[in-house]
Symmetry: C2
Subunit: 445 residues, 2 copies
C-alpha cells in the first residue's frame, strides 16, 4: 500500500488515535501533498479527526486548490477556527480564491481586528510586496534593553514567522533599524537595542513587484525584508522561504513563456486544459508562419526557375531564428536580474550586430561551401553567404531590441519576444535570400 492508500484505510476506521499515529512527526508539506489526493468525503473526514491547529498547519503548506476545496466543504465556524491558527497572509490568500459572497460572510464571522487586517492584505495585488508579506513579525522599541527584548521575544516568538531578525521602531512607530537575534543573545544584558541595531536597512513599499523584492533579498542575503508605507511605518515582512517560491515561480514563468506555455500548465494537466493553454499560442505562431509563407510566395517565379533555392532557403531563416533566440535569452536573463535597461545600455546593440556579422560570416561560409559542392554554382554560394550575414545581423538587432522595448512598453519580454523575433528572422531571411536570388537570377540559371 502506498501512503495515500494507507491514509484512506486509516480514515475508513474513523479513529482519531490511529490517524494521530499515522501523522506522527510527519512534515506538514508531506501531509498536504497526501491530502491533495483525497476525495471530498475523505478530506472532510480527515478534517473532523484532527485539531483545527493541525489542520491549519497542513493547509498553510497545501496548494490553493486544496485550500479552496476544503473551505467549500466544511461549515463556516470550522473554517474560522482553522483560520485563527493560520498566519494572516495565508488566510488572505485563501480568501482571495473563494467567491466574493463567501469571502464577505467569512469576514463577518471573524474578530473585528482580524477583519480589518485581512481586508487591508486583500487590497494588495497578488504579486506585489504587500500581497506576499506576512503581518506576523517582532517589532520592538529602540529604547528596550537586550534582556527586556529577549523576554518579549520569548513571549511573542511562538506567534511570529521568524525570530532571527527583530525590527526596531521609534515612538512614532517608524522603522529605524534591525537587530539580529544573535546580537541580542551575545550582547550585555543592559545594552539598548538602539546601540546594537543596524540602521542602514533594506526595505520595500507594498506596491513593489515581487520579482524586485526577490532580487533584493537574494542580493543582500536577507532572512526577511520589511515592507513599510511612505511614512516608514512597518506594514509587514516577507520571509526568505516565501522569496524562494517567488524566484522559482518567476523564473519558471519566464522559461515557459519563452516557449509559449502557460505557467499554470503541468505535465499531467488534463488534455482539455493543455489544448486550451497551448492552442492560442500556436494560432499566433500561425500568423508568423503565414507571413513567412507569403514572403516566399512573392518569389514563386524565381523558385520555379531555380528549385535549389527551395531547399536552401530554410537554412537562412532557421539559422536567423537560432541566433536571434540566443541574443533574446541573454537579454531576457539580464532584464530578470535587473542588470540591463534600454536607456543605459542601448549601445550594447552594436555588439549584437557585430556578433551577428561574425557568426553569420562563419556559418554562411560553411553553408555556401557545401551548397557549392552540391550544386556547383558559385553565385548561389555567394548569395547564401551574404543572406546569412544579413539575417544574423537582423537576428542580433531584434533579439537585443525586442525584449527591451517590450519592457519599456510594460509587456512581459519573456512572453512576447520570441514571436516578434521569429517573424523578423523568417520574413527577413526569406526576403533577403530570395530577393538576392532574383537580382542575380541570370547567374543562377
Amino acid at each position: 500500500m502506498n501512503k495515500v492508500e494507507t491514509l484512506i484505510h486509516v480514515l475508513s476506521e474513523d479513529n482519531k488515535e490511529l490517524l494521530t499515529k499515522f501523522l506522527y512527526d510527519a512534515h506538514p508539506i508531506d501531509v498536504a501533498i497526501l491530502l491533495d489526493e483525497l476525495e471530498d468525503e475523505n478530506l472532510v473526514r480527515f478534517n473532523s479527526l484532527v485539531t483545527s491547529q493541525d489542520m491549519a498547519k497542513f493547509l498553510e503548506q497545501s496548494t490553493i486548490e486544496l485550500q479552496v476545496r476544503l473551505i467549500k466543504l466544511i461549515d463556516f465556524q470550522a473554517i474560522v477556527n482553522i483560520f485563527s491558527f493560520m498566519s494572516k497572509d495565508d488566510v488572505a490568500d485563501i480568501l482571495g480564491g473563494v467567491p466574493i459572497k463567501m469571502r464577505k460572510d467569512l469576514l463577518k464571522l471573524m474578530k473585528k481586528s482580524d477583519t480589518i487586517k485581512l481586508e487591508e492584505l486583500l487590497g494588495y495585488a497578488e504579486d506585489s510586496a504587500g500581497g506576499i508579506m506576512t503581518t506576523e513579525y517582532i517589532a520592538l522599541r529602540r529604547d528596550l534593553t537586550t534582556s527586556e527584548a529577549l523576554s518579549k521575544i520569548k513571549n511573542i516568538g511562538p506567534k511570529t514567522e521568524i525570530i532571527e531578525t527583530i525590527f526596531i521602531i521609534n515612538d512614532k512607530k517608524e522603522l529605524v533599524g534591525t537587530v539580529d537575534l544573535r546580537d541580542i543573545l551575545i550582547s550585555p544584558e543592559d545594552k539598548l537595542l538602539q546601540d546594537i541595531m543596524r540602521e542602514n536597512i533594506i526595505y520595500v513599499y507594498p506596491d513593489l513587484d515581487q520579482e524586485h523584492v526577490a532580487l533584493l533579498v537574494s542580493k543582500y542575503d536577507l532572512k526577511a525584508i520589511p515592507v513599510v508605507n511612505h511614512r516608514k511605518s512597518l506594514l509587514g515582512i516577507i520571509t526568505v522561504d516565501d522569496i524562494i517560491d517567488v524566484i522559482v515561480e518567476e523564473q519558471t514563468e519566464d522559461m515557459l513563456h519563452l516557449s509559449g506555455v502557460s505557467k499554470e500548465e503541468r505535465v499531467d494537466s488534463s488534455l482539455l486544459t493543455s489544448v486550451r493553454k497551448r492552442l492560442p499560442w500556436l494560432f499566433i505562431n500561425l500568423i508568423t508562419a503565414f507571413l513567412a509563407s507569403f514572403t516566399v510566395g512573392l518569389f514563386e517565379d524565381v523558385i520555379a526557375q531555380v528549385v535549389a533555392l527551395a531547399a536552401a532557403m530554410p537554412i537562412v531563416a532557421g539559422m536567423g531564428g537560432n541566433a536571434g533566440t540566443q541574443s533574446l535569452s541573454v537579454v531576457i536573463r539580464s532584464i530578470a536580474l535587473g542588470e540591463v535597461d534600454l536607456k543605459n545600455n542601448w549601445r550594447l546593440i552594436f555588439k549584437e550586430v557585430f556578433l551577428g556579422m561574425i557568426n553569420g560570416a562563419a556559418t554562411g561560409l560553411v553553408t555556401g561551401f557545401i551548397l557549392y559542392l552540391k550544386y556547383g554554382n558559385p553565385y548561389l554560394a555567394l548569395i547564401i553567404f551574404i543572406a546569412m550575414i544579413g539575417n544574423l545581423v537582423i537576428a542580433g538587432f531584434f533579439g537585443f531590441l525586442i525584449p527591451l522595448v517590450l519592457k519599456v512598453l510594460g509587456i512581459d519580454p519573456a512572453l512576447a519576444s520570441s514571436i516578434f523575433l521569429t517573424t523578423a528572422t523568417d520574413v527577413c531571411g526569406f526576403f533577403l535570400f530570395l530577393g538576392l536570388a532574383k537580382s542575380f537570377l541570370n547567374f543562377l540559371i
Copy 2:
C-alpha cells in the same frame, strides 16, 4: 561623482579614517560590487587600509573573479589573515579557483586543523552538497538542558552561519535531530534538548547534486539542511541563502541552455567571448538545418512542378517546431521540479500525442482553408491538413520523450533537447508534406 569615483578619490588620500567613514554602515555586497570596478593598484591600497576582518566580509560577498584577483596581488601572510575570518566553505571556493601550486603554498601556511578541513571541502564537486556546504554550524548533545544549550549558543553563535536551527547529536556524534532556537527560548530552562527536538530530519549526503538539495530546502521551507556521511555523522550544513543562489543559477542555466547560450555569457560579455560561446551552438544547428535542406532537396522535382509547395512547406515545419517546444518546456520544467521521470510517467506520452492531433487538426484546418483561398486547390488544402496533424503528433511525441530519455542517459535535457526536437520536426515536417504532395502529384498540377 558616482560611488566608484568617490571611492577612488578617497583611496587617493591614503587615509584610514576617511575610508572608514566612507564604508560606514555599508552593506558588504555593495562594497564588493564597488571593489570589482577598481584597478589592481587601488584594490591593493584598499586592502591595506581596512582590517583583515572587514576585508573578509567584503570578499565573502564578492565574485570569484575578484577574490582570485586580490589573492594574486597581496602577500601570502595577508591572505591567510583574511582567510582566518572567512567561513571555510568560502575559503575552499577561493582555493579552488587559484593555481594548484599557490593553493598548496597557502594551505601550508594555515593551521593544521584548518588545512585538513579545507582539503576535505576541496575534495567535493563544486555543484554537490559537499561543495556548497559550510562547516560553521551549531551541533549540541541531546542530553543538554535548554539553558545549557542557550549559553553554548551565546558562545558559539558569533562564529556560525546560522543560529536559528541547532543540530542535535548523540554521543557517537550521529545526527539525531534538530531544534529551533525559538523552541529553546520558549521552553522551561531544565528541559532536555532531546525532549524538544524534531527527529524526522531531512538531510542529504555530500555527493548529492545541488539541484536536488535546493528542491528539498524549498519544499520543506528549511533554514538550513544538514549534510551527513553514511554513518550519519554531521559533515556540514547548507543555508537557505546559498540555496537561493543555487536555484537562480540552475534555473537560469536551464533557460539559457534551451536557447543554446552558455550560463557564463552576460549581456556585456566581450564580443570575442560571445562569439566563442555562441558559434559552436550555431554550427550544431547548421547540421540540423542541412538535414532539413537535404530532405527538401529530395523533392526538388515535385517542387519544380508545384511551386506553391515551396511557400507552404515552412508552415508545416515551423508549427511542428513551436508545438514541440511547448511539450519540451513543460517536461523540462517538471524534470527540474523533480515531478516526472520516464519510468513512472511514460503513459503521459499518449496525452502529448492526442494533444498534437487536436492542435494539428485545428491549425491544419485554418491553414488548409487559407491555402485553398489562395491557390484554389482542395487537394493542397487536404495535404497540408494531414501533414500538420502528422507533424504536431511527431512534435508532441519527441517533445515529451527527448528530455526524459536524455535525463536517463545522464545528459542535461535543457541543453540538448531542442536540437534533437528541431531536427525531428523539420525533417519529418518537410518529408511528410512533400511526400504527400508527391503521392498526390496528379491532383496538384
